[in-house]
Subunit: 401 residues, 2 copies
């Protein structure tokens, strides 16, 4: 321990976030997971801040069986809410995806994924040792997936490897363009083949109404810290009958000398996944989320208004589906890029000039393109944020329509 | 969504812990992870309660590279603190163990583990598809591991499978008896063979000074919500040169149609592991923990005093190493079991009578044996807790020495 210099500890003594509370934050990954907007979530997190706080009355050695606090009920209620048979909490959507892949895929199997999937989907496939086949998209400017190509790809895999794909995967809403895909049509294709359909609801569950069964999902994943107003890290893995037994299979390991075995523990959760304040935060967020998803239509209206306003700046163009159906918005911003070339602050000027106008969340240093989310903002905040962009454009003599 | 009955949401609206704040809590898994005892941790968690709160200034797409809040520094400083080369945050010790196993072990490989390992070690082995060989222990009443048997087991594996074990694993302090094992002697054996040594510090890191290099660990795992005064779920995976490249290897996946690749992401973390308030909580706990480990000697004294007092009850016997070297204590309690047989509350009487005396944390319903931890309690709390047990014994006419 002689090498450890305690002076380094000073910087951990008063950790502050440094984003002004009163700013309008358009950060694309943050808007759906703002737990701090909900007093009940903050209070519950505080009460359960100790590491193993939810384990006071654990009688059966598993998180999803704890009755007080009502984790057992929560697992059932959230499954009902999303119209799936079984649910487990996970420390994030990526871990839930990986667990599903690990349970359903053997190394060297081939799986089909959409080419707009989150990077963690590619990493999950890599970690299980799967080969991937991608369903292509239309490219610039819509980046729309060719969903009917799932059929072609399935046949291709069978022809080339002699085996059906171990699963097919769709990202319900992609993280780059906020495109909403018709999961139901993919579900139908896969059910005809009897191939498991894994649907990633990271940007839908907790924002809009989702029925796993209606969409034909066999397995469904969610990010609670992305879209369910929950502290991080938190996610969900859900499965329907026929797949739940595989995805949530119990341990059959036995110590060869000791005879120890753990038949009540599930392999893919490594026994227990999400104790403490994060599980509690997700539970406390549930009533708020159940209410807010009813207003999804209004959120889409806000997004469309914001797009309409920003496209008044000549050269600013929203990429992805039009009209847009989600609050995650990708803008191409050639005119801002032109300005950055000669600006003393280079690509940081946009970020900094927005902050001067009370708006934050655009990636610092970027200006050729940027992503924002309008989710959960009030109408006057949406208007103020749009005006900030228009004002910066005018200041730099970019013409407005 | 028609099947979802919103009345179920009522129970999530005011989640309370129900363990009185003023009680002396001896719960064996909770004592080292009491984040709520440290105001700086509580405050930091509150400030970063939003899901992606640490990502405001993420420039490189990876948690361990974020400069504000100082996650980048934290990863380096915690590695130095534990005398290891590299560290990554994980959502728990079990996920860190699994990641290490997954990186180092191929399916059908054999690994050596100690027979007192946590169940999650067995589940991690099962999940990677490894065969296990157990290092035996001495059984009742000491449950001491035969550490020199590592040599024999290594030779046995080589002889029977034709291959050296992919790794050997030791639980630094076991979770049933609180026995502290001489990791250094195991490290020496493994280094002679060149077999990777994975050491689980779930019950040591954050409680006592630990130097990974001094102990000869190639890979080290920690539970922050168990022993580092942190909110859950949180853990650490650390590795030394020669193994860090394997354990933290970068993605080499490439989308066959899109060409997408993610060379800056690490496979075993699935890109990013622990955003939000939990990562912040661990950082905020660091200065407190760096201080408290200096007083480990006093914690051992408290544990020994508590054992001495409880063994005044005829028939109560501490199992595991004697004298005891850790705050986790396992008592055999035959006389309490005898009382439970004729008690109207059966095995619950001990739990309930302790609560009447301001003491909690003993598993409800158990009385043949029980586990407690004295960690972090003040001397007067230790004395009051011991007196509660003695008082219950006297009430039921169990003789005292």
């Amino acid at each position: 321990m002689s090498m450890f210099d305690e002076r380094v500890l000073e910087k951990y003594k008063n950790l502050t976030r440094g984003i002004e509370e009163r700013m309008i934050n358009l950060h694309p990954i943050q808007s759906g997971g703002r737990a701090g907007d909900y007093p009940g979530v903050v209070q519950a997190v505080l009460r359960f801040v100790d590491g193993y706080s939810v384990c006071d009355f654990c009688m059966k050695g598993r998180l999803d069986l704890i009755e007080s606090p009502p984790l057992c009920d929560f697992h059932k209620d959230i499954a009902t809410f999303l119209d799936m048979d079984e649910a487990r909490l996970f420390p994030g959507c990526r871990q839930a995806q990986y667990a599903a892949f690990h349970a359903l895929v053997k190394p060297e199997d081939t799986i089909i994924i959409d080419s707009l999937a989150h990077y963690s989907t590619y990493l999950s496939a890599e970690r299980v040792g799967a080969n991937i086949v991608e369903v292509p998209h239309s490219g610039y400017p819509d980046f729309d997936l060719f969903l009917d190509v799932y059929t072609e790809k399935i046949e291709e895999v069978k022809k080339e490897t002699g085996k059906w794909p171990a699963l097919a995967f769709l990202t319900h809403v992609d993280y780059n363009y906020g495109n909403v895909f018709d999961a139901k049509s993919v579900g139908k294709i896969l059910h005809d083949y009897g191939i498991p359909f894994v649907l990633n609801g990271a940007y839908t569950i907790g924002r809009m109404p989702v029925s796993g069964k209606d969409l034909g999902a066999d397995v469904l994943t969610a990010s609670l810290h992305k879209s369910f107003a929950s502290p991080a890290p938190s996610g969900l893995l859900l499965a329907n009958e026929g797949y739940a037994d595989v995805v949530f299979k119990s341990s059959s390991m036995r110590g060869p000398w000791s005879g120890r075995n753990f038949g009540n523990k599930e392999v893919e959760t490594l026994g227990c996944t999400l104790p403490g304040c994060v599980a509690i935060g997700a539970m406390a967020a549930f009533p708020y989320v159940a209410e807010r998803i009813k207003h999804w239509g209004e959120e889409v209206k806000k997004a469309r208004y914001f797009i309409e306003q920003l496209e008044r700046i000549r050269g600013i163009k929203q990429l992805g589906q039009r009209p847009h159906n989600h609050d995650l918005i990708h803008f191409e911003s050639e005119p801002f890029f032109e300005i950055s070339k000669n600006h003393p602050r280079k690509g940081f000027f946009l970020y900094e000039e927005l902050r001067e106008r009370g708006v934050t969340g655009v990636q610092p240093g970027l200006s050729t393109a940027f992503k924002v989310s309008t989710y959960g903002k009030k109408w006057d905040q949406i208007k103020l944020a749009a005006e900030a962009f228009l004002d910066i454009a005018q200041k730099h003599n970019i013409p407005l329509y």
